[in-house]
């Protein structure tokens, strides 16, 4: 791999970065805030923890910090400026102490080969026994590797310096005599893994299976810091099992596994990370059984929701990530945020702004011509003749307010409105709407500056890097051509649109059932755009989310709920795909009678740019399943 790093923003996700040192160089310790909060509730280690998010939100990077490689680097360089902050946070989490690394993170990645066990020509019970034996074997193997890494031992030569002291009091182990050394333990687990692997990948019939099947995931209980010693000594205080990509397991496997760890309530620490998609069509209670409850039996971190509640912190983290990446470039553009202009260059846009002002004046004159009601407003708006963006926005706001007033004033008396009644009604949402309208009508940038870039990232670090990579490319191009490095608003929006268009085109190739999903998103986007850009701006600053509302007409027989109706299965499938591919964000909100709870599906913010919608949350509409189905099919 080349060391030359022209545009480090293109190294997309931290977990794909090769060395632990490079990973830490780009890692922002502040993201561990999610764990600090859980630690303060004292359920970080004691309860089973589910870490959920859309792809690219940073789950794997979060887990990688707890692996022995990064932990050793941080501990060994704890006084260095580079790692001090991370060391202090890890200390607060009880992961390191001043004496040693206290927590050994063991990472187990789930892949399709667990699910493939379901395809073997075996009974369900036997399949489950194979699943547990493969998982036990992999946990043992991953733990031994993690110990070797943490203690800087040599593999496989130093396996015999590890001893496994478990006395098999529970008779879990039928083909391994304990106590034994690490070498023997490794052989035993490798044997199981090899045999299962041969069974799932063989062209020839598997014949009589002689693989050791397990009834439970006992590895979590027997691989403990007191059972495993290095040179006869305990080497850490806690072993943390991190089971990544759990959504790749089959439904029976996930269900059995989750129920097992929750019911067992063992003294082990287990984190599961999985994509949100795993929950579609599988309500949590259904998966875990009715005896399990969030909070009591397990804890959950939804990364996007966490950052949505901590937007200020997330913005700071993204700024740090951007700075760290820019600093790595070999092209001498070592800052990022500062190179994104946050204000419009009005001189460059003078002609368009003037046109916007004139058009608003014309429109206001036209609609107020036959009424004295808005006389004071019109006088106020005409008083100033400066051509500025601020004035264009003011006029557009007035245009919206006048349209609203006319729209609802059929029954009201035609008393003249005071000037104050205009200024009092001007607020942030009307201002944002006005800017959005001007942007669409006159091609004046709306999406630019670091704050908008953060919003466009939809709390997803990979998405942020995707946009930033192209913006940084623009900065590099400016530098090479001898211009000022800073990107103006026009250029920024042009680049962002380019990224959005490319993402949209890629969806045709990337998405399963792409025709249906894109039809759904496109119809939804056009609908949102239509109601957002109505002259009255009734839903200011705009609509970019929906909830599903069933309209039941009285019938002789009781109708099933829409999500139980086979006709609407395509809606569940399409929404599932949209969540899995991060096109929709799911949020719960309370509205209406008796605090009714609604699940609102918002557009990922990059889709807002495509359909000229605001980047704020909160604007959503209720849509019937019938309409959604129509939009999928057309």
């Amino acid at each position: 791999m080349s060391n030359k790093n022209r545009n480090p923003f293109k190294m997309r996700a931290s977990e794909k970065i090769e060395s632990d040192a490079s990973f830490l160089r780009l890692f922002s310790p502040e993201v561990l805030q999610v764990f600090l909060e859980r630690a303060s509730l004292e359920d970080l280690w004691e309860k089973i923890l589910f870490i959920r998010s859309s792809p690219g939100a940073g789950k794997s990077s979060l887990l990688r910090v707890f692996e022995p490689g990064p932990l050793s680097i941080v501990y060994n360089h704890r006084s260095s400026q580079e790692h001090k902050v991370l060391y202090e946070i890890l200390k607060k989490l009880d992961v390191v102490s001043k004496n040693r690394v206290e927590t050994l993170g063991v990472s187990i990645r789930c892949t399709r080969n667990y699910e493939i066990l379901e395809d073997l020509d075996l009974g369900n019970a036997q399949k489950m026994r194979l699943f547990y034996s493969l998982l036990n074997a992999r946990i043992v193997l991953a733990s031994l590797r993690a110990i070797i890494d943490l203690k800087k031992l040599k593999f496989p030569d130093d396996l015999n310096r590890i001893s496994f002291e478990y006395d098999n009091r529970d008779n879990f182990l039928t083909r391994l005599t304990t106590p034994c050394n690490g070498e023997r333990l490794f052989e035993w687990a490798s044997g199981i893994e090899r045999q299962v692997y041969e069974a799932i990948d063989s062209f020839l019939p598997i014949g009589d299976l002689k693989i050791e099947g397990h009834d439970e995931l006992f590895s979590l209980s027997i691989i403990t810091s007191s059972n495993i010693l290095v040179d006869g000594q305990e080497f850490c205080n806690r072993i943390l099992f991190m089971i990544d990509d759990a959504h790749k397991l089959s439904l029976p496997q996930r269900s059995s596994l989750f129920n097992y760890v929750i019911e067992k309530r063992g003294r082990f620490s287990v984190w599961f990370s999985e994509r949100l998609e795993a929950q579609i069509g599988q309500p949590e209670r259904e998966l875990l059984g009715f005896s399990s409850y969030i909070g009591r039996d397990y804890a959950e971190i939804n990364l996007e929701n966490f950052w949505a509640k901590n937007t200020g912190k997330f913005k700071k983290i993204l700024a740090k990530i951007a700075t760290k990446r820019a600093m790595l470039s070999t092209e001498e553009v070592d800052s990022f945020q500062e190179n994104l202009e946050s204000q419009l260059d009005e001189t460059a846009l003078l002609e368009k702004i003037e046109k916007a002002i004139n058009l608003s004046h014309e429109q206001i004159s036209k609609v107020t011509a036959f009424s004295t009601k808005f006389g004071e407003w019109v006088d106020y708006l005409n008083k100033n003749e400066i051509i500025s963006y601020e004035r264009a926005v003011l006029l557009k706001q007035a245009e919206i307010l006048i349209a609203r007033n006319i729209n609802k004033s059929q029954l009201s008396l035609d008393f003249p409105l005071r000037r104050e009644e205009l200024t009092e009604r001007l607020d942030y949402s009307i201002e944002t709407t006005a800017k959005l309208f001007i942007a669409k009508e006159h091609d004046i940038p709306f999406y630019f500056g670091f704050n908008d870039l953060v919003s466009l990232s939809s709390n997803n670090i990979e998405q942020f890097l995707g946009f930033s990579a192209e913006l940084y490319e623009g900065m590099l191009a400016n530098r090479i051509t001898g211009r000022e490095v800073q990107l103006d608003a026009i250029r920024q929006e042009k680049i962002l649109r380019g990224v959005v268009n490319k993402k949209w085109e890629e969806l045709r190739t990337l998405l399963p059932d792409s025709r249906q999903v894109l039809s759904f998103i496109d119809n939804l986007g056009k609908y949102f755009s239509e109601i957002t850009h109505k002259p009255t701006a009734s839903y200011a600053p705009g609509v970019n989310g929906f909830a599903i509302k069933e309209v039941k007409t009285p019938k002789l027989f009781e109708q099933p709920d829409w999500n139980q109706d086979d006709r609407f299965i395509p809606i569940l499938d399409v929404i599932g795909i949209c969540l899995a591919y991060n096109l929709l964000e799911k949020k719960e909100t309370i509205q209406g009678k008796k605090g009714q709870k609604w699940i609102v599906y918002y557009f990922n913010r990059w889709l807002c740019l495509r359909y000229a919608l605001p980047l704020t949350f909160g604007g959503w509409n209720k849509i019937t399943p019938g309409n959604l189905l129509k939009w999928i099919k057309n």
Partner: protein, 375 residues
């Protein structure tokens, strides 16, 4: 190496082979092909029936489903046209129909099982007894199916090698046409990748923690496939393979230019890692891959060797080189070679009238794998 020397026939050489079939009364040919929308579906069978009208022929047609929402469903008329032509070609011949499910499950939990099911089309060597020649025409079969199907046939035939049972001639037939390939676009590439059934190569085993070398054979418009596979494999070293020499001498450069950003900025691949293979010779691909993997194995012997992953983002013809390499590696104890292809859930034809016109410019290739020349 198992296929050194090798037999590769093309164009008129293929017709000459069929003529020899026609002159030999003892031959009994099993011809396997897929039922699909590819305009090249019947080219191989047509040439065989033309050149060898008297051959004792049994035709197995594999009808595979791509799912109810597949983008290629809209080419139902093409499938029908192909099938009608097929019916007229096999008039009077024995036909065996096989249906094959590509997917299992529904909605988001559905998973690809086509490769596993393809390997079950022939369960044992006894099903092949009596055939002197087995021809697998992959022109209208997706990669996910023909890799496992050919892998299974090679495995069954390997069981009788060295025994007194006559070894059938196993041949892969394909109608090559790079222009058509570039107009058939893949839609909805798989999110959930997995190693090709039978060609896992132990890559995912935790106990074998060795450096991973990735050898992707590249074609046009495969940046997303490449990126997706890279994220799945997480290789330690990448050696992209480009087609050269090729009919269009600039083809390798064009493919490189198309993937430049990915190679240079995202993955920072060293230029010396690029490799070249002739566009129309799968056996040369196989040789190059075997040599490369053995070289890496030797260079990394201090680290206990390596694992190699091959991905075919190229023409079907070149993909056979990947298949042969992974198959041979299965019998070499120290080599761990897996195949990771990125399948798609459907196809879209860019310019159908043009594709139909291009059909006759296709060239037939026979890749002869077992039997007479190798005995």
């Amino acid at each position: 190496m198992r296929w050194d020397p090798y037999i590769l026939l093309k164009g008129n050489e293929v017709n000459d082979l069929w003529k020899r079939f026609n002159d030999d009364d003892l031959r009994r040919v099993l011809f396997i092909l897929g039922k699909g929308f590819d305009v090249r579906m019947n080219l191989g069978l047509e040439s065989l029936c033309q050149e060898a009208p008297n051959v004792n022929l049994v035709v197995s047609i594999v009808d595979f489903t791509e799912g109810k929402n597949s983008a290629s469903l809209k080419y139902g008329t093409l499938v029908e046209e192909n099938h009608n032509q097929f019916q007229s070609l096999i008039n009077g011949k024995t036909v065996k129909d096989h249906s094959l499910n590509t997917w299992k499950g529904k909605g988001r939990k559905k998973r690809r099982v086509g490769d596993r099911n393809a390997s079950e089309l022939f369960q044992s060597i006894t099903e092949l007894e009596g055939y002197t020649d087995i021809v697998v025409d992959i022109s209208s079969l997706p990669r996910g199916i023909y890799f496992s199907l050919v892998g299974k046939l090679l495995t069954l035939i390997s069981q009788i090698e060295g025994k007194s049972t006559p070894i059938p001639n196993l041949m892969i037939l394909t109608a090559e046409n790079a222009a058509i390939d570039s107009k058939v676009l893949e839609h909805g590439i798989d999110e959930d990748l997995h190693f090709q059934f039978g060609f896992g190569g132990g890559i995912e085993t935790e106990s074998l923690s060795l450096p991973k070398i990735w050898l992707p054979i590249l074609g046009e418009k495969k940046a997303l496939h490449f990126d997706k596979a890279n994220q799945f494999i997480k290789p330690d070293e990448i050696c992209p393979i480009l087609p050269f020499p090729s009919k269009n001498p600039r083809r390798a450069d064009d493919i490189f230019a198309e993937h430049y950003e990915l190679f240079s900025d995202v993955l920072r691949i060293e230029p010396q890692n690029l490799m070249y293979v002739p566009e129309q010779n799968p056996f040369e691909v196989y040789r190059k891959l075997m040599d490369t993997i053995k070289n890496y194995q030797e260079s990394l012997s201090r680290l206990n060797g390596c694992k190699a992953v091959i991905s075919a983002f190229s023409s079907k013809l070149l993909s056979i080189g990947a298949l042969l390499t992974a198959f041979e590696a299965k019998s070499i104890s120290d080599l761990h070679v897996g195949i990771l292809n990125v399948d798609s859930q459907g196809y879209k034809i860019d310019d159908l009238p043009e594709v139909k016109l291009l059909k006759n410019q296709s060239e037939l290739f026979v890749i002869w794998l077992t039997g007479m020349p190798y005995n």
